[in-house]
Amino acid sequence: MKRNTLVTALALGFAAAASAQNTGPVKIGFVTDMSSLYADIDGPAGGEMIKWAAQDFGGKVLGRPIEVLTADHQNKADVASSKAREWIDKENLSLLVGGTNSGTSLAMAKVAEEKKRPFISIGAGSARLTNEACSPYTVHYAYDTVALAKVAGTALVKEGNKSWYFLTADYAFGHSLEADAAAVVKANGGTVAGSARHPLNASDFSAFLLQAQSSKAQILALANAGGDFTNSMKAAKEFGINKTMKIAGLLVFINDVHSLGLANTEGLQLADSWYWNQDDASRKFAKRFFEKYKRMPSSIQAANYSATTTYLKAVQAAGTTDSDKVMAALKSIKVDDFYNKGQIRADGRMIHNMYLFQVKSSKDSSTPWDYYKTVATVPGEQAFTTVAESKCPLLKK
C-alpha cells in the first residue's frame, strides 16, 4: 500500500514535470554583449528584435505565451555558459539564442548539446560552430568566418593582392577568421607574410601596425570587430599605413562605418549577410528600427528577428517545443523573409546569400546611412563551408 502511494506520487511528479514542458510560457533566452565593444551591433537592441519577432508572431505559439529573457555575458565564456545552464535548468528554456562573441557561443553550444536544447547562434562568427564543434542542437544563422573569408578574401586576391598580413583579435573569433582567410588566400595563389595578435578590446594598435608595415605585405587584413576594428582602422590611417598597404576589414558592420565616417572608410570592401537599404522589405524593417533607436539596424539585429520567427514557425510546424522535433522542423523549413532566403543544413549552418559591399564616397551617399553599394551577390553554397570541406559528422551520411 505504502509502496503504491509512493509510485503514484512519483508518477504524478513525472506527469507534472512532463506537463510543465508543454504548458506555460515558451521561453527564449538571449545572451550577448550588452555593455562592451560589441553592444551597438547587437546588444539591447538585438534583444528587442527577438521581442519584436515574438510580438509580431502574435505573442503566442501553440497557444502558449512567448517570453524573452536577456542577459549580458560581458564577453566571458564562463558567464555565458553558466547563464545558459541556469536558464535551461530553472526556467525550462525552449530556445537559447547566442549573440556576439564566438568564445561565448562555442561555450553555450556545448551546454545546449549536453542539455539537448535548440541553440541559435547569430552574432558570433566562428565557423567552428557548425564544423569541428558542430552539434545536432546548434543552428548558425547569420554569417560566419568562412563566408567572410571566401566572399571578401577571394575578391581581394583576385584583384592582385597576393601577400597578406593579419592583425588579429586574440580569441576564438579572431583565430577562426585568420585561419579561414589565410586558407582562402593560399587557395587563390596568395601568401601570408605574418600576423600580429592583439588582446580583445585593446587600447593601442600602433605597435602592432608598425609590425604590419615592416612586413611589406600588400594587404593589411583586420581580423577583428567592433571597437577593435574602428580603432585599428583609425590608427592605420594616422600612421600612413593606408598609403603603403591596402586595408581590408574582414568583419565590418554598418555601425563601424557610421562611427568612422565615410571619409575614413570610402572604398572599403566588406562581406555581410544583409544591408538595410537592399530592398523594400528591408527598408521597412529598418525604418521601424530607426524610429526607436535613431540608427540603422546591423545585419545581426535583422537576423535576430528573422531567426526568432523561423524558430516559432518550426515550433508551430512541429506542434511541440520538444527539442528533437523542433530541430527536425527547423532544418526542413524554407526561410524566405526580408532578411534572406535559405535553408538550415544538417550541420546547423543556415545557407543563404552573402554579399560583397563597397563603402560609398560621401558624394555618392544620398541619404543618411546610405553607405553601401552591392558589388557581388554570392550564393550560400559558394559562400559557406561546402559539404566536401566540412569536418562535421552530421553532414556525412
Partner: protein, 294 residues
C-alpha cells in the same frame, strides 16, 4: 643592423611608440598620485574622468563647433569642475573613514558615469579628427611618426614636469604637502585646508580630462575608453609608489617603453608585462620603486 636579433627599425619604432604610450600613463598616473598623496583617496573614477575629457572635447566640436585648441583648455576645466563637485558632495564625508570607502565610492561613480554615457552615445565610439595644424607624419627613416603623437609627448611631459615643480618646489606646493602631514596645524596658520583639498581633487580630475582630450584624435571617443586604461595606470602607480609625484612620471614613461620592447621580443606578453613587473616590485619593495618605506 640588428639589435638582439631584431631589425633596428622595429626596435627603435617600438621604443618610440612605447614612449608615446608612456606619456599617457605618466599623465594619468600623475593625477592619481597627486590625489592619493594629498587626499589619501584611491581614485577609481580616474578612467571615467579621462573618458569625460574626451567626450567634452567631442561634444564641443560636434555640437558647438568649438575646435581642438579651445577644447584643450575647456574640457579639463569642465572635468575639473565636476571633480570639485564630486569632492564637495561625496568624498569630503569620507576622509575620516578607512581609504577603502573612497575607493568604493569612486569605483561606483566610474560605473555610473560610464553607464550614462553608454546609454546616451552607445558603444561604437565617436570620430574626433586630428586638428589641421597637427595632421601629417614625419618619416624618421625607421618609421613613420604622426606629428600628433609627437605633440602628445611634448604636452604630456610639459604638464607632468610643471605639476611636479608646482608641488615640490613652490610655496603653494609646500602648503599642500604640509596640509597632508598635519591639516589642523596648517589650518591654524590661516590656510583654508578644505578648499585646498577640494582644488587638489579638481586639479587631479582636470589632468585626467586633459589626457582624454589628447587621446580623442587617436582613438575613437568611447564610453569604455577609460576602463581599458585605468587598470594599467593603477599598476603604474603601484610600481612607482603611491603618492610619489616624480615616481609616477618616471614609472609611466619607463613602463610604456618596457611594454613597447616586449612587443618586439614576445608580443603575446605585452598585455601582462606591466602586471608581472608590479608583482615583482611588490615582492621586493612593497612601497614601490620611489615610495618611502613606512
Amino acid at each position: 643592423m640588428e639589435i638582439f636579433g631584431v631589425p633596428h627599425q622595429a626596435f627603435l619604432g617600438q621604443l618610440l611608440l612605447g614612449l608615446v604610450n608612456g606619456a599617457f600613463y605618466a599623465m594619468l598616473s600623475l593625477g592619481l598620485a597627486v590625489i592619493f598623496g594629498l587626499l589619501d583617496v584611491v581614485n577609481f573614477a580616474h578612467g571615467a574622468l579621462y573618458m569625460l575629457g574626451a567626450f567634452v572635447a567631442w561634444l564641443l566640436l560636434d555640437k558647438l563647433g568649438i575646435n581642438y585648441w579651445f577644447a584643450l583648455v575647456l574640457a579639463p576645466l569642465t572635468v575639473g569642475a565636476l571633480g570639485v563637485v564630486i569632492e564637495r558632495l561625496f568624498l569630503k564625508h569620507l576622509y575620516k573613514l578607512d581609504p577603502l570607502y573612497g575607493l568604493l565610492l569612486t569605483f561606483g561613480l566610474a560605473l555610473i558615469i560610464e553607464g550614462i554615457f553608454r546609454e546616451l552615445f552607445g558603444s561604437s565610439g565617436q570620430e574626433y579628427p586630428v586638428p589641421a595644424l597637427l595632421q601629417g607624419a614625419t618619416n624618421l627613416g625607421f618609421m613613420i611618426l604622426p606629428i600628433y603623437r609627437t605633440w602628445v609627448v611634448v604636452v604630456s611631459l610639459a604638464v607632468c614636469l610643471g605639476t611636479w615643480y608646482l608641488i615640490e618646489r613652490t610655496r603653494l606646493g609646500a602648503y599642500l604637502r604640509a596640509g597632508t602631514e598635519n591639516a589642523s596645524l596648517v589650518q591654524a596658520f590661516g590656510i583654508n585646508v578644505p578648499v585646498m583639498v577640494m582644488l587638489t581633487y579638481g586639479a587631479g580630475a582636470a589632468l585626467a580630462g586633459l589626457a582624454g582630450v589628447l587621446a580623442a584624435p587617436i582613438i575613437q571617443v568611447n564610453p569604455l575608453m577609460g576602463s581599458n586604461l585605468i587598470i594599467v595606470v593603477f599598476a603604474v602607480v603601484v610600481i612607482g609608489g603611491m603618492g610619489s609625484i616624480m615616481g609616477s612620471i618616471l614609472t609611466g614613461l619607463a613602463l610604456g617603453v618596457v611594454e613597447g620592447l616586449t612587443r618586439v621580443f614576445y608580443p603575446e606578453a605585452s598585455a601582462i608585462v606591466v602586471f608581472v613587473i608590479m608583482v615583482i616590485v611588490l615582492m621586493i619593495r612593497p612601497a614601490g620603486l620611489f615610495g618611502k618605506e613606512a
